[in-house]
Amino acid sequence: MNRRTMGKALLGLAGAAVALAVGAGGAVAQDKLKVGFVYVGPISDHGYSYQHDQGRLQLEKELGDKVTTTYVENVPEGADAERVIDQLAAQGHKLIFTTSFGFMNPTLKVAQRYPDVKFEHATGYKRSANLATYSARFYEGRTIVGEIVGKMTKSNVIGYVASFPIPEVVSGINAMTIALRKVNPKAEVRVVWVNSWYDPPKEAEAAKALIDQGADVIVQHTDSPAPIQAAEERGLFAVGQSSDMTRFGPKAHLTAIVDDWGGYYVDRTKKLLAGGWKSEDTWGGIKDAMLHLAPYNPAIPADVVATADKTKADIVSGARHPFAGPIKDQSGKEVIPAGKSATDEQILKMDYFVEGVVGKLPK
């Protein structure tokens, strides 16, 4: 580059700087309620964050004349989360949903700074006057999944690609294993932890490792469709997570646990608009339409589908509890006696594997 073109470039930069200064401060008057969303993954994960964003879109569709929404995706669970949440609050968002566990303490800190803003944190346990919590009973879906995969496996080994050894994930593994062993007492579950919610290469590696260990059905509690794709490649079955992932493996995809946040987001926003918002904990299940199962793969025999439908109806009616005793942990010790079911608190603190899971829970 010679001196002349360089001069031009600098001139261009100066021009841009002037334009920038002139264009400053174009804030538009807002009477609509601003609702913010913070996602841990990209909305293109086609899983957990994608599904939250579907909820946001539903909120826009139903209450679009009263609210505007904003989202920030791919927010790391560390020092950055607090800044993002703070920015949303500082820019006039009055209701902010933070959708990953790692956002708990950052959300709490920001909530203390903005007492007139309402915060909602998904899957955590800390609440305050303006910070509510919400989650779904994902384990209910896992029970139905367990019955289906128990009938579909030939090798009697189910591979489970898991994110973090937290109660939400552990209770899901246990719920599936309990249901699995009811229909197929010989089956066992092998778990690989990837220590991430969204890491497609790692998730695919984990799925392949499980397949190499003999698993012929892959279940996942991570957010990308990579495990489904790995199973499809090997001609095996898989169960999707958070979202209907059929298009990533039409042959492999047996079903998926689909999160439905839209109804909750609409409901909470309506409450805030009507002045009836309260800080509380919501833990909704299939009955509350916070999750459902994706359409079953035609490869699943009709009698298995019928059993799955019955189980779903029983869970909704309360006739069946996913953690009905007797339940034994890996060592054979009875953790839930016969005639009793695990309490919500026991499920929320679950830190043991039940019989039928191979491998140790990291402690």
């Binding site: 580059m1 360089m6 470039a9 600098l10 261009g12 930069l13 841009a16 334009a19 920038l20 002139v22 264009g23 400053a24 174009g26 913010g36 990209p42 904003t70 989202y71 920030v72 995706e73 791919n74 927010v75 790391p76 669970e77 560390g78 020092a79 950055d80 607090e82 800044r83 993002v84 703070d86 920015q87 949303l88 500082a90 820019q91 566990f101 790692g102 303490n105 800190k109 346990y125 973090f164 050894p165 937290i166 109660p167 552990v170 220590n195 929320l348 603190k349 679950m350 830190d351 990291p362 402690k363």
Partner: protein, 358 residues
């Protein structure tokens, strides 16, 4: 035979060496302008949302400093090593060890601490980073193992160690088995420097590191040795410089600073030990070091710029709904233009085949 070829210039212009980062930024802004235009956004508004709006408040400026702090701390240390041809790529692991050791001290004295806990944690953070960097130093000198590979691989060991601890001894006993430590007590938290922001003591450490790095490199005999070893190892050998000592020094220094950065994150803005302490600061700092021309003051500016590109990406997303990927695109363009400018100040582009020398 190619139509374009690069012909080395005898001597790169000194002015241009310092001007290219500025030029790269200008070109990035210009391309960003076109990019936003092509995406259908008002480019002026978008650039404003990206680069100006985030730092238009005291809080925003504070956030910029908070984000730049680990990048500058690590970048300064790495650059000193890079000058001596010691390629510490594993700052992310050393950062993690700093958080593990320093943060662990905070947890160990939970409930019965005092004013002395924080200084101990800071020392622990530095020591943790140094310890992790000492391994590649020893392997390099003892077995001639490339520190590029060993330090990088140790990063993953460090992350797994963190995962083990956070699911075991470090786990909050009242935390519903979630893999997070307790929140540190006030005695174990870095004090805020500016009220109403998150700027903490770590930022002061970063400034001290910049000053110290500058003094070391330009005003001391050791700095001279580092530069000579980096430029002409053979000459350094003839001069009797102790290369082993420089390997130890640069790795321990960069490791210690990375460890300090890690401690600064957990005892600063995060306030507890979590499974994800750093979104890759140890790696981004390598870019920062080169963007800053391996000069401490340059690194300070580069760290701030890189921090702005991170928080600007979020701000643009909030204000205009720009996709988050735009952050990566901006950082990529910046590096691309920097490297391209570097090529052009070192080489001349000639059209046609090489003329036969007379």
């Amino acid at each position: 035979m190619s139509l374009l070829r690069l012909e080395p210039r005898g001597q790169a212009s000194r002015a241009m060496v310092y001007l290219t980062p500025v030029l790269a930024v200008a070109l990035t802004l210009a391309s960003g302008f076109l990019l936003f235009l092509a995406l259908g956004f008002d480019p002026v508004k978008a650039l404003h949302a990206f680069f100006i709006q985030p730092i238009s408040t005291a809080r925003g400026l504070g956030e910029l400093i908070v984000k730049a702090t680990p990048l500058v701390l690590i970048g300064v240390g790495l650059a000193i090593g890079f000058r001596a041809n010691v390629w510490n790529i594993g700052a992310e692991g050393q950062l993690t060890l700093g958080a593990i050791v320093g943060g662990g001290i905070g947890l160990a004295f939970y409930g019965d601490g005092g004013w002395w806990v924080l200084p101990l944690m800071v020392l622990g953070g530095v020591a943790g980073g140094m310890l992790w960097a000492a391994i590649p130093a020893w392997l390099k000198l003892r077995f001639n193992a490339s520190e590029i590979l060993t330090s990088l691989m140790l990063t993953y060991v460090a992350l797994l160690l963190l995962n083990y601890l956070i699911n075991g001894p470090y786990r909050d006993p009242e935390g519903f088995a979630f893999p997070e430590s307790r929140m540190f007590e006030p005695d174990a938290t870095l004090p805020h420097l500016i009220q109403g922001t998150r700027v903490h003591l770590g930022s002061l450490f970063a400034l001290l590191a910049v000053a110290g790095g500058w003094v070391l490199m330009s005003r001391t005999f050791i700095g001279f040795q580092i530069r000579v070893i980096g430029l002409t190892p053979a000459a350094a050998g003839y001069a009797g410089f102790n290369e082993k000592r420089i390997v130890w020094l640069t790795l321990l220094l960069s490791g210690g600073l990375a460890g300090l950065a890690g401690l600064g994150e957990v005892a600063g803005p995060i306030g507890q030990i979590t499974p994800s302490i750093s979104p890759g600061y140890g790696f981004t700092a390598i870019i920062v070091a080169f963007l800053g021309r391996l000069h401490p003051v340059g690194i300070l500016l580069a760290g701030l710029l890189m921090a702005l590109s991170f928080i600007g990406g979020e701000a643009a997303q909030i204000a205009l709904g720009l996709p988050k990927a735009i952050t990566g695109v901006f950082q990529g363009m910046l590096l691309f233009f920097l490297l391209a400018c570097d090529v052009l100040i070192r080489y001349r582009v000639r059209l046609g085949a090489r003329r036969v020398a007379a």
